[in-house]
Amino acid sequence: MKDLKTPKQLRKEGWKELNLKREPFEIRSLSNTTFTGVTWTLALLAAVPLFSIIFMLLKNGGARLFGPEFFSVLTELPPAGFEMGGGIGPAIVGTLVMVAIASTIAIPMGILTAVSIKMLGSDSKLARAAHFTAKVLTGFPSILAGVFVYAVLVISFGYSALAGGVALAVLMLPTIIIATEEALGQVPKRMTDAAFGMGCTRTQVMWKIILPTALPGIMTGVMLAVAGAAGESAPLLFTALFSNYYLSQMNEPTASLSVLIYNFSGMPFDNQIELAWTASLVLVIIVLIFNIFARVISRKKT
């Protein structure tokens, strides 16, 4: 210890103290401040469209929806040409029915496939190939699901609610598989180890330990997939087309909110354009409800 020199001695020997302080106006500080400012601006800029969209939806679509016309807008048939009033009833029913069909097909299939991939383990080439396929499918354009179902069902049976539902199911399937796989992977290994140690078979571990534990995570993924399907329109153009009337049979062209918005947005009539905004508001509300559900469930898990 006595060998150490004090700062005073060092200074006497000619050592200079290094200034480690960063001055607020030196180049480095200034460029750092600029960078911080730019990042803030860009981040806030990205949030502008969301608020603009929500504001415009409430402004242009809210008048009809939250006014005295509430029930008539939600139940009446869409108006023709120069007609006033009218509503989006058939489209709401059509969207809900097709999403329900898609969910009944895609949710069990998706969860089963994810469970299967997990059962086979990451060593299995087949499981890896299946996982990869699902990953690739999530990146596919949604319109291709429509083209595919058009080729399989519509060419021989015509446009129908059923075909629309199947197309949405094809879209939901990979999303559900990937989300479920992720949720299954988050189950702690010590839980499965304990179960194996007690003499469980792999199947029992999967059904009695992993699946119940991962259920909230799976539900979150499923809800997000349902929300995504509700907002899809490209595949429905090829499979369900559109209709001005309420759905009476599963094998008829069927209205949906998204296709209604697409059709009405290009029309030269103010009434139709206003209805398109109202339909958008309703659609966004439906999608947001599923999104909020998904978040509530995932919060419960943690």
Binding site: R28, L120, G139, L144, Y262
Partner: protein, 324 residues
């Protein structure tokens, strides 16, 4: 009396080895698993085969010229998609420049101590909600909000800078610029989410070492964190690009559906997906087959791009495996 460790009579309580029935059901379920895993692989092959089968007549008729010709004329029965391929790539690249910059900026904003954790959480949800808004709603917003907003800007740019090829025409309504802006907003959540993952994968000691050297935040990000996360960010950009390529409805409503090849940002254009969406409902006969051919082209392009993105993502994950 001979007793084994797993004697049923003793182990009646909690632990016991699986019985015959359980072993068989396990084997059965495993077989079922193999079937399920195959079914998803078969599904993608089935999709390819069905679309391919429909496209065969058009393939035979138009062959390679389908990719190099520039007319899509139902009356003359001439179909070719070069303008659509150009429009698809051009609009996606423009969207990627905008959406990529914003997405990576958001990822930096969320991961590098810009705001309090709670606020960052709220901001992340805001960005995720952008992904939840349906494509048609973006289209509607684009027509009635964005285009009127862009018009004076486009007019001014055209007036003063018309010698730049990007501004050589007037924005007369729908066009490439509004389409690209909406596309950029739509791919932003994808890019941001994958980029956030890329930044989170950087081991904490790298960051500690960097700041320990006395760097400013800007220096740390530009000189250390961005290069370290570069492959993950590349994956984010490629996957975002893949999403932009396949986006349909918003583009069908905003891009103007006109088959021309132009560098101008303000002239109408067309993409493969919006061509399909706008022509399909009224198409019949050979046009349907030509559209199927176009679908196959789109499928191939997105498949290759996604494959590239997933590959880069995989490589990135392996890169950090041993470090943590």
């Amino acid at each position: 009396m001979r007793r084994t460790l797993f004697d049923r009579k003793i182990g009646k309580g909690i632990t016991r080895p699986p019985g015959n029935l359980e072993i068989y059901s396990d084997a059965g379920f495993r077989a079922f698993s193999i079937f399920c895993a195959w079914s998803i692989i078969l599904l993608i092959l089935f999709i390819l085969w069905m679309i391919g089968k429909q496209a065969v007549p058009a393939m035979e008729k138009y062959g390679f010229g389908f990719l190099t010709g520039t007319t899509w004329d139902v009356n003359k029965q001439q179909f070719a998609v070069l303008p659509e391929i150009w429009g698809t790539l051009y609009s996606s690249i423009l969207a990627l420049i905008g959406g990529g910059t914003l997405g990576i900026a958001i990822a930096i904003f969320l991961t590098e101590n810009f705001i309090h954790d709670r606020l960052a959480q709220a901001f992340r949800i805001t960005v995720e909600l952008l992904a939840a808004i349906p494509s048609v709603v973006y289209g509607l917003w684009g027509i009635y909000v964005l285009i009127p907003l862009l018009r004076p800007v486009a007019h001014w740019l055209h007036e003063h800078f018309s010698w730049i090829p990007f501004f050589q025409t007037e924005l007369s309504g729908p066009g490439l610029a509004p389409a690209a802006v909406v596309l950029a907003v739509m791919i932003l959540p994808t890019v941001a989410a994958i980029s956030v993952d890329a930044f989170r994968q950087i081991p904490a000691k790298v960051k500690e070492a960097t700041y320990g050297m006395g760097t400013t935040r800007a220096e740390a990000i530009f000189k250390v964190l961005l290069p370290t996360a570069s492959s993950g960010l590349l994956a984010a950009l490629v996957l975002g690009f893949g999403r932009a390529l396949g986006e349909t409805m918003a583009l069908a409503m905003l891009i103007g559906n006109s088959n021309q090849i132009s560098l101008s940002w303000f002239s109408p254009a067309n993409t493969l997906a919006s061509l399909m969406a706008s022509s399909f409902p009224e198409a019949g006969g050979i046009e349907v087959q030509a559209l199927m051919f176009a679908a196959l082209v789109l499928l191939l392009i997105t498949f290759l791009v996604n494959l590239g993105g997933l590959y880069i993502q995989q490589v990135t994950m392996r890169k950090f495996e041993g470090v943590k």
